[in-house]
Amino acid sequence: MQTGQPAKMRQLKLALRAAFPRTVPVMVGYLFWGLPLEFCWKVKGMALDGLP
């Protein structure tokens, strides 16, 4: 029972480490995502800078 939890945590860490490199191209692409959306909001007068 004591070893169950660390074993599960180890599995999670392994899955996390294996998954991350696969997602790097997506990370780079998504970092450019917010800018056009913000400009789209700006055109409609609902951008973040309109908030108090």
């Binding site: 392994l14 899955a15 996390l16 294996a18 998954a19 696969r22 997506v26 995502w33 959306l37 400009f39």
Partner: protein, 190 residues
């Protein structure tokens, strides 16, 4: 917005819908039309999502174009739990999405510049994913079927209307030739 609406094209459409005060039914129909390609994504993920347990609803919610592309070919290393591996791919992608939206929102509100061509970032992203899949795939036939269907439908229906017919074409062709595609070794041996 990016936390609750996890669909890029729909977020751009939502700007117009909110600005014009569109009705609930109109929003539902528009969302269905814009994202109907996800029906095809969902069908092809039925097998992979079968034993996901409590993670299944989140995996269905987080199935975007990019996540779908990765889940199609990504195979976990031997000692890694398959379900958690898929879950973290989807989770990482959604986190990038939210962070990208926040960072872009903050940067975009603090300065302005000519954004012409910035949409190419997403095209470049798909090219990178495609190249990775091409290098890892044992058979290039499905990729070639996808390319040919897309090009033919692009020529026939134009840039604004080609995705849905192309997806239907791919599903039909891959279903018809499924028997051969499932036995590449046998085909190569004979």
């Amino acid at each position: 917005m990016s936390i609750f609406i996890y669909a890029g094209s729909m977020q751009f459409v939502a700007v117009d819908l909110l600005a014009t005060g569109a009705g609930f039914l109109q929003v539902i129909l528009m969302t269905l039309m814009v994202n109907i390609r996800h029906v095809f994504y969902g069908i092809s993920m039925l097998g992979k999502f079968r034993n996901l347990g409590a993670k299944k609803p989140y995996m269905i919610f987080s199935l975007t174009d990019e996540t779908f592309s990765l889940l199609c070919t990504a195979e976990p290393p031997k000692n890694v739990d398959r379900n958690w591996f898929f879950f973290f791919i989807a989770l990482f992608n959604q986190l990038y999405w939210i962070v990208g939206s926040v960072v872009g929102g903050l940067l975009g509100s603090s300065f302005s510049f000519n954004t012409q061509g910035i949409d190419f970032a997403m095209t470049a992203l798909f090219v990178v994913i495609f190249v990775n899949q091409w290098r890892e795939a044992k058979s290039h036939v499905p990729a070639l079927v996808g390319l040919v269907c897309s090009l033919v439908c692009l020529l026939l229906f134009g840039a604004d209307n080609f995705i849905l017919p192309a997806l239907i074409g791919m599903v039909v062709l891959l279903s018809v030739f499924r028997g051969r595609l499932d036995r590449p070794e046998e085909g190569a041996a004979t």
